[in-house]
Symmetry: C2
Subunit: 227 residues, 2 copies
């Protein structure tokens, strides 16, 4: 599914260079459920953005389903993002002038899904994350945890093979967070690959493997089921 | 310090009315350290915005240091906000075109503090939240937890009597979160009133009182030291 080899990312700020990732290598098989943990600023979101084909590494390769995504053209990258990957952003990145249901429909629009089916699917997803009564609210008319759940629903719209969730329960109370983890666990049982950046040990304990990142490097790659 | 009496907040969306707060009453004394907990969407941020004089209740009163802030004019409200209150927003609300240090200096600019003293104070605060090496980064060049810490530093710039922090550790790993809680506890020992919205029971356990909100109402007002 995912194979990262010696991936680096340097942010060039002119006078200063920030080495956000310093040579990261790992393999994630289709159907795995993996947590990524590490201190604030250690490179987790940067890694997720590279895996999600939202940005390119400075050096190294990322192979997704046998395709080296560091070598493909931008339009192919956009196609991979839309068809294969569901991305939950750490800061949600909702479109401010669209309602919750319109935000969730957006990936379905790009995928060419018809109007009635899009609406049905988007409403079903919002229901699944507990937002059935907020579907016409715009982002600035939603609470922090409600925005987060719209972002999660949107990531699931195209039933992507890979779900990359950057701190998907960060703004949620324990109970709502547990409901979201149930949802992700169920999708994983159905065969979706799930990668979750989290600071919450509770969330990490619901995965089968934890990749620890520290200062742009993997400090530990830990299997939780003893295998 | 704070006295809320029968506070309501209704968001009027035309066809629909959202009753975000349905009659909330409580008193917080100067020097208390209080947590506010409750499910996503229950009204916590709405309550914080009213306490922080960022918005007005639909009905009811909020008295801050003997002054009914629901009756004062907008310019007095702005003055109270700048002098008495440090607000950490759930979504940070940093100015995108300013660097971290410039963002932290902003309340000091409004308070008329001189250039050299502002810079000294802002750098000291960024150091205290572990961002000494990120002072010239803009918000989009910072990680989620780094943005959160800039927002915290900014709230503390004017050494406000009241610190209102809406989920200040939500984007932080356990250790960095604990450092922030140390900082807030120390400020509380020095006499600052600290009110923290949190989903984290760890954070709540470091306060002496937890106000539980559910569906726009206070469901429980719990003193943690048995007093
Ligand atoms: N555009 C950028 N320009 C310069 N530096 C950047 C940029 N984006 C991120 N950084 C830096 O790269 C490092 C890694 O950032 P990243 O967002 O990956 O951290 P993170 O592990 O997700 O942290 P958090 O847990 O706080 O979200 C940080 O130190 C950050 O300051
Ligand atoms: N501008 C608005 N217009 C309409 N409804 C709103 C608006 N702002 C908030 N709401 C609604 O009011 C309710 C309370 O929102 P609030 O942001 O106070 O919740 P919260 O307790 O902070 O939740 P979270 O833990 O998710 O941040 C939510 O159901 C939300 O959808
Ligand atoms: Mg991050
Ligand atoms: Mg909130």
């Amino acid at each position: 599914m995912f194979e990262a080899r010696n991936v680096t990312k340097v942010y060039d700020m002119g006078a200063v260079q920030v080495h956000a990732l310093r040579g990261v290598s790992f393999t994630i098989e289709q159907g795995e459920m993996v947590a990524i943990m590490g201190p604030s600023g250690s490179g987790k979101s940067t890694l997720m953005q590279l895996m999600g084909c939202l940005d390119r590494p400075t050096s190294g390769t990322i192979v997704l389903d046998g395709e080296d995504v560091t070598q493909v053209r931008d339009d192919r990258l956009a196609e991979i993002r839309n068809k294969k990957i569901g991305f939950v952003f750490q800061q949600f990145n909702l479109l401010p002038r669209l309602s919750a249901v319109e935000n969730v429909e957006l990936p379905l629009v790009y995928a060419g899904v018809g109007r009635r089916e899009r609406r049905r699917r988007a409403l079903e997803l919002l229901e699944a994350v507990g937002l059935g009564e907020r579907v016409h609210h715009r982002p600035n008319e939603l609470s922090g945890g409600q925005k987060q759940r719209v972002a999660i629903a949107r990531a699931l719209a195209n039933e992507p093979a890979v779900i990359l969730a950057d701190e998907p329960t960060g703004a949620l109370d324990t109970r709502t967070g547990a409901e979201i983890m149930q949802l992700l666990a169920r999708l994983n049982e159905q065969g979706h690959t799930v990668v979750i950046v989290t600071h919450d040990p509770e969330v990490a304990s619901r995965t089968r493997r934890v990749i620890h990142i520290r200062d742009g490097l993997i400090s530990k790659d830990e299997r939780l089921d003893g295998s």
